[in-house]
Amino acid sequence: MRIRVGHLYPDYLNIYADRGNIAVLTRRAALRGHELDVSPIGLGDELVPGAFDLLYIGGGQDREQALVAPDLAAKGTAIGAAVAAGAALLAVCGGYQLLGRGYRGRDGSWMPGAALFPHETVAGESRMIGDVLLECELEPGVATTIAGFENHAGRTLLDQGATPLGRVLAGFGNDGRSGFEGCRVRRAVGTYLHGPLLPRNPQLADWLLSQSLAHLTGGPVAALPPLDDELETLAHAVSAQRARDRGGGR
């Protein structure tokens, strides 16, 4: 099948090798006989909620993030409608922040976000930088770990009752204190983890693909045939060990 992916602001938000995530989704889809049809969504482009099975937004430097923030906030309703209708979404780092209610700068300024995720981000004095390891359940009862690298000054504070992506085993996570990392709303996942995220976390890549396929078909989520993930498993193990050895901590 042809999975329709909307890649938000690829020219602006691409700092942590976001194209690596797209490459992983493309190849893992192809190995199952599916095609990934990736369309860039730029400044001023209209986002039609039903037009995409998966939305992707990466991270950028502060300057680039500030350039896209007003446009993204204006797309907030459409993004919310897409996710409510069952589209999958992955937001990494800056994109994760911008999809919250907003960002409070150190000077007190307020930059409104797209309000998909129930959180606010507050600029911190120091950056939280290092390897991270999470434990989480993408599906209830199936425990897994996610390994990556984080580099952010913002502290993301989840609302009471919000669902985090996972619990931090090593590293800082959302705010360096709560012990949680990322946020989930329906089939949308937001996280600070890059590295890029998906090459060393193939189970998350496959989860996103199967959710996207479910949106496309309108049917239930079907498991994808397994792949030989020996290299991915090795890279995951090295990255996880890095986090245990030298990840930032609470």
Binding site: D11, N14, I15, Y16, A17, R19, G20, A23, V24, R27, Q61, D62, R63, E64, L67, R127, I129, G130, D131, F149, N151, H194, G195, P196, P199, R200, L231, E232, L234, A235, V238, S239, R242, R246
Partner: protein, 483 residues
């Protein structure tokens, strides 16, 4: 040092200017003591087998008496040159050294120790030098510039690099703006006008030298994936490029506000790239033009040569000497280095960030794609702990030409993923994390008389050179400059 002598000390005041009483006198004596202590530390460090001991004495003096650096710099009669950039600062300063060494006795940190401690070490161990030639880390630039009060500052480029260590580009640019604002009036600022962020640093500064490439035939068809400063430094609208040469370096203009590349004072025109052998170009300067045959490949080395030439011209070096120095230059260690290994050769090209690695790939493309490669990815602090940058490198042309690739280093598996997700067949990829074993495996895969191309990150490069030195193939890097 806490042992500050109050009066003259036997044998240590020799170089102190006797006409200057008081503090300077004591400072001179103290400097002498510190210099001696530092050289002892360096010898101890080498004796203990800790590499070249290139920065330990400097670390010491930086810790106990950072003000000594000001005084050490002030003893240099011809002043101090600072060279900084994300990419090419080691090569640029090595080129400048080749040009300048005939007219000046140099205090030059040729081993690439470019943090405050390395600079302090160089100044400490350079008694009798006339001109300081300091390659300086981009993050360390503000403090070092403040202390040494440079005569010339050359700023080459800003690319995304080790975000875990340096932070965002704009953050470095902000530090550079402050550093430039604090420079003495008489300091000559040399900037790469082809880099929008860097070129803008010279806005309104009298006497600045702006260099760039002026040869649209060599432009890339489009900005590379990893291009950084794509948006106008004044208004934020995207730049239109009449020509994009290396990453975001090129001839740019903002359609919204008109901000564009300023006129060039020093330019390279009629450039001819000759594969791995080098390049030729017209070096066009206010003092005239010369055809230069550069023995280093790649357009990025033309940029390095322009920076070195601009620095030399700012120091009033005759144009013939500039051209001769550039032509007589050989590569800085590990950047582009051929090492004989028995009946085979190793060609080593350092990769450390997307822009630099893209140029290494482009250079190899121009020289004919190598069939056998060792690529080594480490993630120590000096390499960048965050390895995501390898996904921003356009490795694809290399993969198209390679028969076999050995992925090595501490993050070999991540590198292997980068190549397999780009479609490189797993059956032709070997994972050998240990560097020495990977080097041997690579050499084994090359037929006698053939060449093994090795692309290491910084600490992998140091280790591979140490292995080569252990086998008697190259000199250790702290023994003068390598060739």
């Amino acid at each position: 040092m806490q042992v500050v002598p109050n009066g003259p000390v036997d044998g240590v005041g020799a170089r102190v200017d006797r006409r200057t009483p008081g503090t300077l006198d004591r400072m001179g004596a103290r400097l002498e003591l510190e210099t001696r202590a530092a050289s002892l530390v360096a010898r101890l460090s080498r004796a203990a087998g800790k590499g070249g001991g290139t920065t330990l004495p400097g670390k010491l003096i930086w810790k106990v008496d950072p003000g000594a650096v000001d005084a050490l710099a002030a003893r240099l009669a011809h002043g101090v040159v600072i060279v900084s950039a994300t990419n090419g600062k080691t090569t640029t300063s090595a080129m400048a050294a080749r040009v300048l060494e005939s007219a000046h006795r140099l205090a030059w940190n040729h081993s690439g120790a470019n943090l405050a401690s390395g600079v302090a070490s160089t100044l400490l161990s350079s008694g009798g030098a006339e001109l300081g030639l300091l390659e300086v880390d981009e993050f360390a630039l503000p403090e070092i510039a403040r202390r040494v009060r440079p005569r010339v500052v050359s700023l080459g480029n800003l690319f995304r690099d080790q975000l875990d260590r340096y932070g965002e580009l704009e953050h470095i640019a902000e530090r550079w703006r402050a550093a430039v604002a604090g420079l003495p009036q008489e300091t000559i600022l040399v900037v790469n006008a082809d880099d929008p962020l860097v070129g803008a640093l010279a806005d309104g500064r009298t006497g600045a030298v702006r260099f760039g490439v002026d040869d649209a035939r060599l432009a890339r068809p489009a900005l590379q994936h990893a291009a950084d400063s794509k948006y106008c430094v004044r208004c934020g609208a995207p730049y239109a490029y009449a020509a994009a040469y290396v990453g975001h370096l090129g001839d740019y203009r903002c359609r919204a506000c008109g901000h564009g590349r300023p006129p060039l004072d020093v330019a390279a025109r009629s450039i001819e790239l000759r594969g791995l052998e080098g390049s030729s170009f017209d070096l066009v300067t206010p003092a005239g033009s010369r055809r230069v045959r550069l023995p280093l490949p790649g357009l990025y080395n033309v940029y390095n040569a322009l920076a070195a030439a601009s620095v030399s011209i700012a120091l009033e070096t005759p144009l013939d000497d500039v051209a001769a120095g550039l032509e007589g230059f050989s590569a800085a260690f590990g950047r582009f280095e051929r090492i004989e290994a028995g009946d085979r050769r190793i060609l080593m090209l350092l990769i450390k960030n997307p822009a630099g690695a893209n140029e290494a790939v482009r250079t190899l493309e121009e020289g004919g794609l190598p069939p056998t490669l060792v690529v080594a990815l480490n993630d120590a602090i000096a390499d960048g702990r965050d390895v995501s940058w390898i996904w921003d490198v356009d490795f694809e042309p290399l993969l198209a030409g390679a028969q076999r690739i050995v992925a090595s280093g501490d993050r070999a598996a991540e590198l292997a993923l980068r190549f397999t997700y780009a479609g490189f067949p797993a059956g032709r990829l070997e994972i050998v994390p240990e560097l020495e074993a990977a080097l041997d495996r690579g050499l084994e895969l090359v037929a006698p008389g053939g060449e093994l191309v090795v692309l290491p990150t910084y600490t992998a490069m140091l280790r591979l050179r140490a292995i080569a030195a252990g086998r008697g193939l190259v000199q250790p890097y702290w023994r003068g400059r390598s060739t």
